[in-house]
């Protein structure tokens, strides 16, 4: 029962957030159904029928529930909506509307109106999607990764890194020569779901310690040494007089981060 309620909620959510494009699709379908044969033709009617059947399938909650229970697929409702050729229907109707016009002026007017209609149903201006949400911390992360990558040659082309999450998140994609004690699958359950291995408890504790590295940098550096890390990125400097301060050589200071590499007791 709970799953059915969740699915219905997903349906309502999809309508609420993307109502304008769903509305545009419904308008297009209405046009295809109502328009005289000479405008939309048999193919238009067939497209409308195919789309309506697909929509009925997608919005048929018991059917989706059955799929969900047997395969476990479909936690996000919109995944089912990808089967509907929504943009093809909208574009098809826009073309038909333009072609219905007899004069050049009305053709151009309809063309503009359709483009404006599509724009107003979407983001109004292009390149205005939820991009900001995905922007990474800042350029400093990139600089840290370049600095870490440059240390590789000192360690035979591969090094082991321990760093704050935002650095680790991109490190392996930036350079395959950077190995990590733990990766982004530690804190993001969606990442690397294919892997059967799990992190041992001591690495989970290290991860928790790393979250507060700015409070205990020396302790984190000690752990990093124990795990055999070659490079360490901290958000706070190591104590000058401590053993860790002597074993880890400062490579570069970047606003918000300090990059160290392990040299031992030289």
């Amino acid at each position: 029962m709970k799953e059915i309620i969740d699915l219905i909620r997903h349906v309502m959510y999809a309508e609420k957030t993307h109502g304008k494009y769903i509305g545009l699709l419904l308008l297009a379908l209405l046009f295809l159904w109502m328009a005289p044969k000479e405008f939309s033709g048999r193919r238009g009617k067939k497209l409308a029928l195919f789309t309506v059947v697909l929509i009925c399938f997608v919005f048929c909650v018991p059917f989706l529930y059955l799929i969900f229970r047997t395969t476990g697929f479909g936690q996000n409702f919109w995944e089912y909506l990808w089967t509907v050729p929504a943009l093809a229907v909208i574009a098809y109707v826009a073309v038909e509307l333009c072609m219905m016009q007899k004069s050049r002026a009305s053709f151009l007017g309809t063309l503009g109106a359709c483009l404006i209609g599509i724009a107003l149903s979407g983001t109004v201006l292009p390149f205005k999607g939820e991009v900001e949400k995905w922007k990474y911390a800042d350029q400093n992360v990139e600089t840290v990764l370049a600095t870490v990558s440059a240390q590789k040659d000192l360690y035979g082309g591969e090094l082991l890194l321990l760093a704050p999450d935002e650095i680790l998140e991109r490190a392996r994609a930036y350079d395959g020569g950077i190995r990590l004690v733990y990766g982004k699958d530690m804190w993001d359950v969606r990442a690397n779901t294919a892997v059967a291995d799990d992190y041992p408890q001591d690495i989970r504790l290290l991860y928790e310690k790393m979250q507060r590295d700015y409070e205990y940098p020396d302790e984190v550096a000690d752990c990093a040494k124990w795990y055999g890390c070659d490079v360490l990125v901290l958000r706070e400097k190591l104590s000058q007089g401590s053993t860790q301060g002597k074993e880890w050589k400062l490579v570069r200071e970047i606003p918000g981060y300090i990059v160290y590499r392990y040299v031992g007791m030289e």
């Binding site: 909506l81 073309v95 983001t123 294919a194």
Partner: protein, 341 residues
């Protein structure tokens, strides 16, 4: 150069095989390129399955996969020569031109370039995605799915068997390992800029075929097709935050296997099913027609390639929804046809 050859030239050669399979007389370069590209993806996946099981090295897999692709390409070229490439009439020239339709094709180009520019200015939404890490790990360790891509460490328990089916990252690795790595071609340029442009091209070609299917034989068909592509592109451009129409995935997570499945394979499958519905033919008549029977093969290619791109449950469920909807539509359409006549 080798990568460009593999992406732009080899699919044409491989795609020729499909003209022999489908028994078509007229050659259509859009379909040749599309089917050729999908066949290459499927071939890489088919080789990957035993290679992973036998724990072959990536180098060995590369030789086998590229070898199979080149063999398919050679076979395609032989079939192409045999089918009589000299007969110019056999070629269906797809770039429709009509007086005063040049501006519409210009519009298609502008929309395509605007969409492509998204890949160069958007920050890729790769927070939970592991494709780049998997490519790096595969090429660097010379193994197939034996190391944890998130850390670069050797796996003890390994990867779940069903996830070993998703071999698209290995297909990308083939191309990445052939190109100049490091300073000249970073993963960012390869995976988040070049690959998306190629997938966007495949997506546009699929909708090109949608347009052709919808407007074939209609008045001013040659103007309708570019207009259709312009509107389709604009809808993607202005709907880039939408999950329901796959535009978000097309512009922000283009390189992922799920996106390839949703933006290329699923619309192509829907188109193939849509094209198969002939109201004027009953199931028996349809089955007796050899050419129509052969049309069942491309959907199999789509589903097979889909299994290598996205998790199998997703592929099977979404393909089944499309196939079931197609079957229901065909029945209704046939009844309507019988009533009208």
């Amino acid at each position: 150069m080798i990568g460009i050859f593999l992406v732009l030239v080899l699919p044409f050669a491989v795609g020729m095989i499909w003209y022999w399979i489908l028994g078509k007389e007229k050659k259509d370069w859009v379909l040749i390129y599309l089917y050729g590209s999908l066949t290459m993806m499927a071939a890489a996946g088919i080789v990957a399955m035993p290679a992973i099981k036998l724990r072959l090295s990536f180098g060995c897999y590369r030789i086998l996969a590229l070898g199979l692709m080149f063999m398919l390409g050679a076979a395609g070229m032989v079939l192409f020569v045999q089918s009589g490439f000299k007969a110019k009439d056999n070629w269906r020239i797809q770039l429709h031109t009509e007086k005063n339709s040049g501006w519409a094709w210009g519009g298609v180009l502008v929309v395509f370039l605007l969409l492509s520019s998204c890949f160069f200015q958007y920050v890729p939404a790769a927070k939970e995605d592991m494709t780049a890490e998997t490519i790096h790990t595969t090429v660097r360790t010379d193994t197939l799915y034996e190391y944890n891509a998130a850390t670069g460490e050797l796996l003890t328990l390994g990867i779940y068997p069903q996830d070993k089916l998703v071999t698209l990252p290995l297909f990308y690795s083939l191309f990445y390992s052939l190109g100049p790595q490091g300073q000249q071609l970073s993963m960012r340029h390869f995976l988040y800029e070049f690959v998306p442009v190629w997938i966007l091209l495949l997506n546009f070609l699929v909708f090109w075929k949608w347009g052709e299917s919808l407007f074939l034989g209609q008045k001013r068909e040659k103007l309708r097709l570019p207009l259709f592509l312009c509107f389709y592109g604009a809808a993607n451009l202005f709907g880039d935050y939408l999950f329901i129409t796959f535009s978000y995935k097309l512009l922000h997570q283009t390189w992922t296997g799920e996106t390839v499945f949703v933006t290329v394979l699923l619309p192509l499958l829907a188109l193939q099913i849509f094209d198969m519905m002939r109201g004027e033919k009953s199931v028996t008549e349809w089955w007796q027609d050899k050419i129509m029977r052969r049309k069942l093969v491309p959907p199999v290619l789509c589903i097979l390639t889909g299994i290598f791109c996205a998790p199998w449950r997703e592929t099977i469920v979404l393909c089944a929804v499309v196939l079931a909807a197609g079957a229901v539509t065909a029945v209704i359409w046939r009844k309507q046809y019988e009533r009208d006549n």
